[in-house]
Symmetry: C2
Subunit: 285 residues, 2 copies
Amino acid sequence: MASNILINGQPERSVDVTDRGFAYGQGVFETIVLNKSQPIAWSLHMQRLQTGANRLGIPVTPDLIDQLEYDLQQLLALQANIPERQILKVTVTRGSGGRGYAVSGALKPNRVVALNPYPEYPDQPAQNGISVIKCQTRLALSPLLAGIKHLNRLEQVLARAEWDDSSIREGLVQDADGYLAEGTMSNLFWVKNNHLYTPELARCGVAGIVRQRIMSIASDLGLAISLGDFSEAELDLCDELFVCNSVIGIWPVIKIIQLNQTEQKLTIGPVSRLLQQQLAVEGIY
Amino acid sequence: MASNILINGQPERSVDVTDRGFAYGQGVFETIVLNKSQPIAWSLHMQRLQTGANRLGIPVTPDLIDQLEYDLQQLLALQANIPERQILKVTVTRGSGGRGYAVSGALKPNRVVALNPYPEYPDQPAQNGISVIKCQTRLALSPLLAGIKHLNRLEQVLARAEWDDSSIREGLVQDADGYLAEGTMSNLFWVKNNHLYTPELARCGVAGIVRQRIMSIASDLGLAISLGDFSEAELDLCDELFVCNSVIGIWPVIKIIQLNQTEQKLTIGPVSRLLQQQLAVEGIY
């Protein structure tokens, strides 16, 4: 089997246990869709990777970004048949070593580039909509880490572990103050009176690339959009709700399941469909 | 060179990049001192490991604890000369795989057992006392994760990165509400009028094994101790301050450096010395 992973450009699949990504989560990652070998929104992903790395004291230079692109080309060159769509996961860590939490000396970042199959969604959630559950796990407020996609993801793991009914495709998560934050693996948007709303994510959460694209598209379309701190009660009266990320694009929500098992039904509305169409033009669908 | 690391009992030193410890920090670890091959406070460390693992959905059975002990014996058997003191690091992760944040199927935990040299402290900080700095990084409040020693340690890494003056041996960190929490790698105690105080750590921080031993020893000695939420101002009037962990034992603080460069001097007092003596009996020094 041809290798689907390169570590620092070499066909390996494991990292030293002294890697600071493993030991402390001192690393960032990106999940990028490839359409016929073309990475979607590559420069936006690399921009976020660099912002996150800066925040965590990981020296990500333009050279390193070039190396990641070269690694991707190497992996693609090894494939006998290029799938229509596949997933690229890029991880950059602070490197191996240091004494405890302190980084000592000139540690070089480690880079991991992995190609994986695009997941199958036979139930066509983008078309048919999904059920979501309200999670109990709350995201801690951490302005230093908010927005970036780092390797400290225990809160998401704990929130995702709250349900195992495979018909529920996502969980809605609040922050410690009780404001809506995000899905376990996605960002949230809702629509009321043709106005878009999304959590600001200044104190927790991951600011997704598709979220960023949606805000930009909404602005181009003259669609009003508000970022802020919103309570879950806002969803009781919304016209449309959807979750989004780079892999799934937009999944409209047709059912919200509450803790007490009561359900709220929603219909898939015109704003969700319009944004799906606009994203499809960019290869995000 | 003989191996100093076993992974699942095998002499390896790297973990698969799909390990959930690497990908998300879904793992726990313990740092244990060996005195002439004898692990100090083994059962307390294993208890905390198990508590943390339960919290993170990692199935740690008594069998797995036995395997960790066996791994340690294997590593010791490989050593030509047993050092007087060395450090054992034990890490247990949720294992490799799963689709995204969800754990799927019967993943087996991965266990990493590593022997490392005991650090040199030529300036004898336990004897002579240390300087500490007040950090700006604040710990997010996360009751779900508070107390346990998991692999999401970015806050500690960021706090530790605030200074690089090697004469400063530790940083004092507050929580998001402005209460004293811990050191970057240690727990805090202070003394006022023969009364011991330490942060409660119900919403953030790591509840250390030496902290636990100190609370127990204080109780045996009839020394009053209060756990709670305390502001940094408490330190202005304290008689003694010390930091502690399993590797360093107790380091008394003789200087607190403030952000504005002003300094507070402290002397090493009788309670710190008494607790050091008591811990030394247990091999913690």
